[in-house]
Symmetry: D2
Subunit: 356 residues, 4 copies
């Protein structure tokens, strides 16, 4: 209820602050008998970690995960998988300047009002560092979802947009460049733009697109827990996300029914896919695809006016090592959350199928 | 888990098919002692009901709610509020032509695959008729949320967009026209466009914007259950919704941090509100606003090709009485879901505050 | 959270007060495709209903269930099963004498303190009349649990105890007498005792034993949701229940390990069954059996001293039509709750099995 | 759903196997601003730990808890409290003899059937070692429940029963002897009996009684989540528990209503307390008391016949360091689970009270 768990049957609970002792989580409900390749989990963590390239924060954190339970002789046992990631680079002194002040468009102010006081060392619990735990759990979920392909990539940085439909791109190319955009020419432009933004001491927003293939028909629950509703919640729960659309999305709202309807082929596939692989909240076997909008990072390397906890105006100097653009590191987080949603709905769906 | 409940502490469970005996629901967790004005609840139902104007479906359903429990001498008792809405206009024979065929971009196909068979009389459980129960519960939630103002309105129909910011409009005007757009000139244009679309036997999508005012600071739970994540899920769970954005939304992803950051006034309010009233998933006391994209209704009055449950191609003739554009009737549904989210988070937040 | 729902994947939510318009409930998560024999459901309701014999309350309520959704052409559709039971015999005037006074060992006092006011017409929500909804849902669950046999029966009335182990009795005999004790000689003694108690204007407690056979190995979740823990909660949630024990129970606490351990046969069955069919919270395929203690009904036909809501001492005269002993009518309720637990754990267990 | 979490608003999730790397848990929903005395938490762990006295297992485990998050400058922050307890004494070789065999009345057989394979090093997840995490969380809950007194103690060992009512005893005496019985004379007898049982290579069961004082009126939710139902589930979830009764319990089922009814004093207290402080599932301000029956530990130091995973009969020699009687170490576990239930219901109840 307090917001630190995700999922129903395949459930992740996370804990940890950016400058506490450790982050971690518990995956409850992962079925027994799944052979886990731990190196793949670390690989996803490495795709998210700070310091991985010239266009992300230069903070150094190894982000090594230590599994404490739930795995025996290389396989899941059906019991909870507990894990921790030690915080090895807690430069608390970096944050003394914000102890009593509220950073604009950060959660400092609301945390203090909601909880009465706050851990002022960095973002604490509201830091995107928490998403490391999600990446671990998502990487486990991916291994459970044998055959399903989840590919996220950067489709916009500021005003630079990938216009080509994903069906005309080799999505594997996304991992060949540090922006994680599958159009490598565009990726180079995005990279240059991010570098320029960094020089200005500024930040910029962007969009991550995610494509999920080979999903069986029938995942998703009707009415309140529609598959896209839960995917939307999952994405909107990621730090800095401002919007979610799937299939035809906002542009679909401008269309006519006669254009937008996806007509069937004889095998139950559809000739078009404005539905985005989901009808009535349930997967129909076509590709699921959606777009996730990220705002520009709130921490900028420029001086900003703000207030302190006495309501006095103060000047705040940008400091520390932050991302000029969050989307390259957000790609594995989007994938992880998608995997968690699919794993959960797979188990829910299984529960009803057994008898038939 | 099966998707028919919404909320945690203020919880709605709904039941009922479009052509079954009755719809209904149970509201569990509504605090005791709230004086309920039942006429306001019926009023919201009337805003949603079919047949209310020239631009919506001409199907006639009185949609009268009967409360069965949880209210005593005009006040809530703290026990579950059960209610039903009888289906009085179940023209099952209207649907015989779709018994064995799958309507394009409807849920017929996926329901049959997921459940092994389906109630073929209309949309069954996937029909938007289910939202009548949401409107009842939302109207109860609104009465619990004393002082909070929730105003949804139509901001786009097809390519006709309301460009003025909501702060320059009198939102009360939305209820003065049948489109429910607060710019009455634009509303007239939208109305004409919808009438033209209907003549073509076609349908068109649109956007509903919702503004929530006077929300106290502190609602929303961090990490997975951020206030905007739950609002997003709530909206995406409404039939035909394809996208959700709050505050700066997708356009925010094109901005720089130096533009996008909301600087504080001395009283904790902000000079701009790109955050949309939510920071780190928690309300900050500013207006909450968001946009919800609806696809064009899938049922069109034109002949379409489709397949039957043997995989044979068949022609399907548009029949029945359907909405040419769903957004005017969606306005009270968006408000209802917003009210349910806020009621739930109010109770969750209260639970922690008591000691302080 | 407010306590009106039971189960996770096979979930029942109930509503309704003893003197409101109607009782009812929603069963969410029942798998699709189960052929439902509605007459069996009514039969269980009839086993619970008032007025059925000379030793229960003579209040007349037909307790007829009306299904509103989730069933189509005789089969469950996988959507929520909503149902109501109209209250046809609401003699509110019977209760005017308790409007301002607290009946001893009833919930009047705590409801008023918890909720600020209460529906004073009878027990309201705390009335055992609510269990009619449980019986409906339990009867649906029983039909899902094909092959599993659930037999509850009366094993004690006051000091009259059934000493024979259940394995030496024909449990079907329980339904041949109005006490519902499978030892018909003892049943006659119990019946006479209850009649004598009624003459005294008094009431008496009793014990219901339940035996569940043909449960597959593997139901139940370890640690907090052990099968017997959930069975215990289910039974303790029934009105008037004071205790629960399974397998060897309280007497088992006096035994030595060398006596108590259940040694295995080669086929995995055990030579003894002190475990009560459950080891480590998981069914082992042996008979599950447990005992449920019911206190004497608090409403007696004698004058009692009590207080009113101003703290003044008042005399309260016993009135109305109440059960002298609740256990005969509790038998179908115990079975219903057991069925709900097993249905829920069956679905949970299925969810993990699918891949293997 | 998979059974490793307890509570709704004050929620504990645990992980860890007896012979894995570490145990641990996450407490989610603990309100912010509670000053935590960490030494009191360790004290409760020490009351549970092995090797603490001559009548418990001589296995040595320091059971030191390390908190990873959720506490800042000595106070809870409102974010999840993650903690781990490293396993320092994992003598896996002790368990090689049970790798392929099923210990009688242990969970080996059902785990293997349910999960397809099992962590055969000791009890794995089914080991009572998991309860260390519960004790940590319970000790946090106790500190939230200011003013509430929770006292558990041993009331039976085998056939040696404490007959005096708890109201005639100084419950603080329970902690003055290694049996944890507040009647010190009886404690000496119990101690001798346990020592004799150990010499026989046998084990014996017992009963723990728990008394909770100063609980405010109004905790507990009606119908399915009655306070005693959740307490019952909490206790039945503890390893080796076979029964639960509160207030008059099983003996209450032999009583008449005229004896059993608790008559009110003018201040709302009652003259007797057969209700055990709970009416209709809601606390009434009187002492809450209940009894929990524990079976004899299944591991005995005698040779037993059993089967292996091929269904072959094998002889199993008792080995290792086990408790001859589990109740002295169970006392802090019972208290911890009671504290978790009360903390959860306190938050749930608060959520509804705020407006009034």
């Amino acid at each position: 209820m307090a917001g630190n768990s995700f999922g129903n049957l395949f459930k992740l609970s996370t804990f940890g602050e950016s400058h506490g002792e450790a982050l971690g989580g518990v995956i409850d409900g992962c079925p027994a008998g799944i052979s886990l390749d731990l190196s793949k989990i670390q690989l996803d963590l490495d795709r998210r970690k700070p310091g991985q390239s010239a266009i992300v924060t230069q903070r150094k954190e190894p982000d090594e995960v230590r599994f404490l339970s739930g795995i025996f002789e290389g396989k899941t046992t059906g019991t909870p998988i507990g894990f921790i990631i030690e915080n090895t680079n807690q430069k608390s002194h970096d944050y003394s300047h914000i102890k009593d002040s509220y950073r604009p468009s950060h959660a400092d102010y609301v945390y203090e009002k909601k909880y009465g006081f706050r851990d002022y060392r960095g973002g604490g619990r509201s830091s995107a560092r928490e998403t490391a735990s999600r990446v671990v759990a998502g990487a486990v979920a991916k291994q459970m979802l044998e055959g399903v392909k989840i590919n996220a990539f950067v489709s916009s940085v500021g005003n630079i947009h990938l216009e080509k439909p994903y069906t005309e791109l080799d999505l594997a190319n996304a991992e060949t460049n540090i922006v994680r955009c599958p159009d490598t020419d565009l990726a180079a432009k995005m990279e240059n733009y991010i570098k320029q933004i960094r020089k200005e001491g500024d930040t910029v927003g962007g969009v991550v697109t995610c494509v999920i293939q080979n999903v069986p028909v029938g995942l998703g629950e009707p009415v309140f827990d529609k598959l896209h509703a839960e995917l939307g919640k999952a994405m909107l729960s990621i730090n800095a996300v401002k919007g979610f659309e799937y299939g035809s999305g906002f542009p679909g709202a401008e269309m006519k029914g006669s254009q937008h309807n996806d007509l069937y082929n004889a095998d139950g596939t559809t000739k078009t896919n404005y539905s985005g692989g989901i009808q009535g909240g349930i997967s129909n076997g076509m590709d699921i695809y959606f777009r996730v909008a990220f705002k520009p990072v709130a921490t900028i390397m420029q001086t900003q006016k703000t207030i302190d906890n006495k309501g006095e105006e103060v000047e705040m100097q940008g400091k520390g090592r932050h991302d000029p653009c969050v989307v390259p590191r957000a790609v594995p987080i989007v994938e992880a959350m998608a995997a968690l949603v699919l794993a959960d709905y797979t188990l829910i769906n299984n529960s009803y199928l057994h008898k038939r």
